[in-house]
């Protein structure tokens, strides 16, 4: 018992302050003498968890790990100077943070500022590439870190898969106009924005959610008006689907009498139906489509156990009939089609809804956005993101209260989390596994990497299992450890660490020498501790320490870009690679 205590306290002192070489050696030999397992079971997550009182530095590192994409060199000192609370306040108000550097930087991606109609004439691959690169560059370099974290959070919560049909053209606007403006605002605004977004309407099929009793004359009237407004041509870039533009006025005139009139009327109806169906999708039988109605409750608001029934799903679907896209293959604009809307009373969660037209759907969204189940569900997910895979109920309750009392104010909920005791509990330090995106971005930030081209990072994030904007199911990418840890994905993480440290990621330059000024590669003791502090911020398991202190491999034959030969830099490169690829660095 006693011995264990000694062991822990020695470890703690190693962790808290940064050990000198002497201390480390003493620790290793002590372990050897005691001949107990090298890493005690209770320290499996991190040695820090053995500590009962968090040091100020630890609290700052923890905060940076959770509300940013990880500390850059100098960040800990900066936060220390300005104070933890001031930093939280700053991050909660991204609009007050000067961020022109990254704003200027993403200007090179011209598609990001194009309107959707223009995008339809471009190559989908280019659009996706620019979105991915911008996302990575913003995550690395934006000073509005929390905002970027929240954009990622909501992108997954309201996931849209860029590979589904027209969504390759609609994602740009979804990212820019739907998610970003509302990432720190009111939940109901975000929910409504997604409900009206062509990207979501297409992804979850609500654009063709219609009453089975379509008023084709009405739809045709709307379509004609829209098309006369702006003459549309079929889109050569859309694979498979060609919507022939309808000749305005064709077959819609003609007044007469007798049998000829009836025939003409029949013809007119057929034509209207054909025309409407052309817009609504070739060969589609129109009717209620429940997909979006189900997911808006199950995944976006109430949660799967949020107290709704299959009947509610159908009723919500009826309320949302007619929420559609003008021409999904040519012009991704939201449109409400009266002719597709299901009229009459609907009952959702015990409440009668018959406001008429588009207001039926608006009323449903309002109902869902303020429901206590929604407060609970959103709070749980936020706490899972920022605190632990097993969200502490006490904190979830507090955040849900904030949701209810602030009309779903995202900023206020975040503040409740960051200032809570649970957030700062040492048990939660390094308790979260980094997603592949978080791992890659935090690594580049940790070594002060300079990315002129983010495509290699994008590719590697994909190889680590998280191709950006390409989560297929509406759940988005998972936010729990078990999803990201398997042999193949872990290997990719190590390979990423190695490539980055060795300056072999195309378009990304890293100067390991800068990380350890004054280091003498021939004397690892001069920089190992320094790098541990710089990259892992003071806490390192013993297996990592042992691995770091193993004799250097002779990497003499490979040259590295710009920074001299491996012979010079190999020990530094190796140390940085191992630290970024260590079990500790996979957690935040």
């Amino acid at each position: 018992m006693n011995r264990r205590k000694i062991h822990y306290s020695t470890l703690d002192s190693t962790v808290r302050g940064i050990s000198t070489k002497v201390k480390t050696l003493a620790l290793i030999s002590l372990t050897a003498i005691l001949s107990i397992p090298i890493v005690p079971a209770s320290t499996s997550r991190t040695n820090v968890s053995a500590a009962t009182v968090a040091s100020q530095d630890q609290a700052i590192v923890h905060l940076l790990n959770r509300i940013t994409y990880g500390p850059r060199p100098g960040d800990v000192e900066r936060v220390k100077e300005m104070g933890v609370n001031a930093f939280i306040e700053e991050q909660l108000h991204p609009e007050r943070i000067e961020d022109s550097k990254i704003t200027d930087r993403v200007k090179q991606f011209e598609t990001l500022n194009e309107n959707t109609q223009e995008l339809y004439s471009m190559q989908p691959k280019e659009l996706v590439t620019e979105l991915q690169q911008a996302k990575v560059l913003r995550a690395i370099y934006s000073e509005r870190q929390l905002n970027e974290v929240m954009v990622d959070f909501w992108q997954n919560h309201f996931n849209v898969f860029v590979g589904k049909g027209a969504d390759r053209f609609l994602m740009t606007a979804y990212d820019r106009d739907t998610i970003r403006p509302h990432a720190m605002g009111k939940f109901k605004d975000l929910l409504l924005a997604t409900a009206e977004s062509p990207a979501m309407l297409f992804y979850l099929d609500n654009w063709m959610n219609s009453t089975p009793n379509v008023d084709y004359a009405e739809v045709a009237r709307e379509v004609r008006a829209e098309r006369q407004q702006n003459g549309q041509m079929p889109n050569p870039n859309f694979p498979g689907g060609i919507n022939r533009p309808v000749r305005p006025g064709g077959g819609f005139g003609g007044v007469g009498g007798g049998i000829g009139a009836i025939r003409r009327q029949q013809q007119r109806q057929q034509q209207q139906q054909k025309q409407a169906q052309g817009v609504l999708g070739k060969n589609r039988k129109l009717g209620i489509n429940e997909n979006y109605a189900r997911e808006i409750m199950e995944l976006h608001t109430l949660g799967v156990n949020g107290g709704y029934t299959q009947k509610d799903v159908i009723e919500v679907a009826k309320c949302l009939t007619g929420w559609s896209i003008r021409q999904p293959r040519n012009d991704g604009e939201f449109v409400f089609r009266e002719g597709m809307h299901e009229k009459g009373d609907k009952f959702v969660l015990g409440q009668k809804i018959n406001a008429g037209g588009m207001r039926d759907g608006l009323q449903v969204i309002d109902l869902l956005a303020h429901h206590p189940s929604t407060a609970k569900f959103i709070s749980t997910k936020l706490v899972r993101r920022f605190v632990s895979d097993n969200p502490p109920q006490s904190l979830v309750d507090k955040v849900a209260q904030t949701f209810m009392s602030t009309d779903g104010d995202i900023r206020s909920m975040l503040k409740t989390i960051f200032t809570s005791q649970e957030f700062n509990s040492p048990d939660n330090y390094r308790a979260k596994m980094k997603t592949p995106l978080e791992m890659a971005i935090s690594a580049v930030r940790a070594v002060g990497g300079e990315a002129t081209d983010a495509s290699a990072i994008v590719r590697q994030v994909g190889r680590m299992g998280m191709p950006l904007y390409q989560a297929q199911p509406p759940t988005g990418y998972p936010d729990v450890a078990e999803s990201w840890i398997n042999t193949g994905l872990l290997l990719e993480r190590m390979n990423f660490a190695l490539q980055l440290a060795a300056n072999k990621l195309p378009g990304v330059s890293v100067d390991v020498k800068q990380l350890a000024p004054g280091a003498n590669p021939k004397e690892p003791a001069t920089y190992t501790d320094h790098l541990i502090k710089e990259i892992l911020h003071g806490s390192v398991s013993q297996q990592t320490m042992v691995a770091l202190n193993k004799p250097m491999p002779q990497l003499t034959s490979t040259r590295f870009d710009g920074n001299g030969t491996v012979a010079d830099n190999a020990p530094l490169v190796k140390t940085v690679a191992l630290l970024l690829g260590s079990p500790e660095f996979q957690r935040r």
Partner: protein, 422 residues
């Protein structure tokens, strides 16, 4: 000295037993060489091949006995079998024939190791590639929020504590939907990628050892997985992928599918514990100029059938425990369109081969192709739910006992099985 994993391997099972802290995977590795353990050579294997883009099953397994087939496809139908002629269907049973590009399958069919399934598909009527693939991979048609794929749920349903890290492998850049889920599964484009990559001149051994030491002793899940990673790397090294020579004169076509199947054969022969392999192949979305006995589709089918035939030859006796199963998200319209192609339809075909398959037969509750027999008046109707095929393979071939886990919300019943597994 630090005690290495290799030391344990050398000192065998007794040393292992005394080492409570030994990683799971070590114990598995030891068990592989143990006569009491599951013999890797006898392991049941499933190779699933997804034909993405909706292959035109009606031109693959041709209902040449249907008059309507020829009426509906005046320019692209595969001609009726004629003895001595090449550019026509190869008869199977007087009603169905196969596309001439499938010629290499015919001997395997005749040997009784290859069968076709027809009019199989999804109860959902979506004609969107994305949705239909999604539904087929999750095996929950109509339900979008299913997070995991059916093959991963199979792995979960048949937990194997001795599972190797290569129990489930996808030859693709990213893990496909089919294999996403709780059970570990590995995606790789090439076996040779599965290592610490140090570049052409790098001396990788030093850095690899250092990484290995990093994960050497921690009790947390990351460290344990890290140890499995290095075990896996070693396993592949022993399989020596660079030196691979296909057996029995098998020649894999040079293409992504041939490349994937060759590597799957390598893994099977190397006894790395492979149970479920997945790969996919595209190029089937033939809206225009599809061709008939020759042409666009024919070329794709040649690559497809010859790749699989090469695998069959290469594996030889090992096919005894292997089942290859193809799938595609939906079929194509019964009638050809104005561009001499076909549009998105409904029911489709599948090919299934291997030792456990009762071959030499087309399994189908054939719905017919008269207008009133067609689904929505235009597509081949689905008479076999694809989940009954997946279910039969999971239960009867792979030996899962728990269909409920694999097919949530679907009452799987052996009554609905086609019984193509012997």
């Amino acid at each position: 000295m630090s005690i290495s994993r290799r030391f344990f391997l050398k000192s065998g099972g007794i040393a292992m037993a005394s080492m409570a802290a030994a990683p799971m995977f070590l114990r598995r590795a030891v068990a592989f060489g143990n006569p009491d353990g599951k013999s890797a050579g006898g392991k049941k294997v499933l190779i699933a091949i997804f034909q993405r883009g909706a292959v035109d099953g009606l031109n693959v397994v041709v209902p040449h006995g249907e008059e309507d087939y020829y009426k509906l496809r005046p320019s692209i139908a595969v001609p009726r079998p004629k003895s001595g002629e090449k550019d026509c269907a190869i008869d199977l049973d007087g009603h169905f024939g196969i596309h001439p590009a499938f010629a290499s399958f015919k001997p395997i069919y005749d040997q009784g190791h290859l069968a076709f399934i027809h009019a199989v598909g999804s109860p959902d009527n979506t004609r969107s590639h994305f949705d239909a693939q999604d539904y087929m991979e999750s095996a929950t048609p109509g339900s979008k929020s299913t997070q995991d794929g059916w093959l991963n749920r199979y792995l979960v349903s048949n937990t194997d504590p001795k599972a190797s890290p290569f129990r489930a492998v996808a030859f693709s850049q990213a893990l496909p939907r089919t294999l996403k889920g709780k059970a570990p599964a590995v995606a790789m484009a090439n076996i040779s990628d599965f290592q610490i990559r140090t570049g052409p001149n790098g001396n990788g051994k030093g850095i690899e050892d250092a990484f290995e030491a990093l994960y050497g002793s921690g009790n947390d899940i990351v460290s344990a997985t890290g140890r499995e990673t290095f075990e896996a790397i070693d396993m592949l090294k022993k399989a020596n992928p660079q030196q691979y020579q296909p057996a029995n004169g098998a020649q894999y076509p040079r293409g992504p599918l041939g490349n994937s199947l060759r590597q799957i054969a390598q893994l099977i022969k190397a006894d790395v514990g492979l149970e479920v392999a997945f790969t996919d192949v595209g190029g089937w979305d033939t809206h225009a100029n599809e061709g008939g006995a020759t042409g666009q589709l024919a070329n794709r089918l040649t690559d497809f059938s010859q790749s699989i035939t090469a695998l069959y030859q290469d594996l030889g006796d090992k096919m005894e425990n292997v089942v290859v199963l193809s799938m595609s998200e939906f079929g194509r319209t019964a009638a050809e369109n104005g561009a001499r192609g076909t549009d998105h339809g409904h029911a489709n075909y599948m090919v299934v081969l291997g030792g456990p398959v009762k071959g030499g037969k087309v399994y189908s509750h054939w719905p017919g192709m008269k207008r009133e027999q067609l689904y929505e008046g235009r597509d081949l109707a689905v008479t076999t739910d694809f989940r009954d095929v997946f279910g039969e393979v999971s239960m009867k071939h792979l030996g899962s006992q728990n269909a409920g886990i694999i097919f949530p919300g679907y009452q799987l019943s052996s009554k609905n099985f086609l019984n193509f597994i012997g």
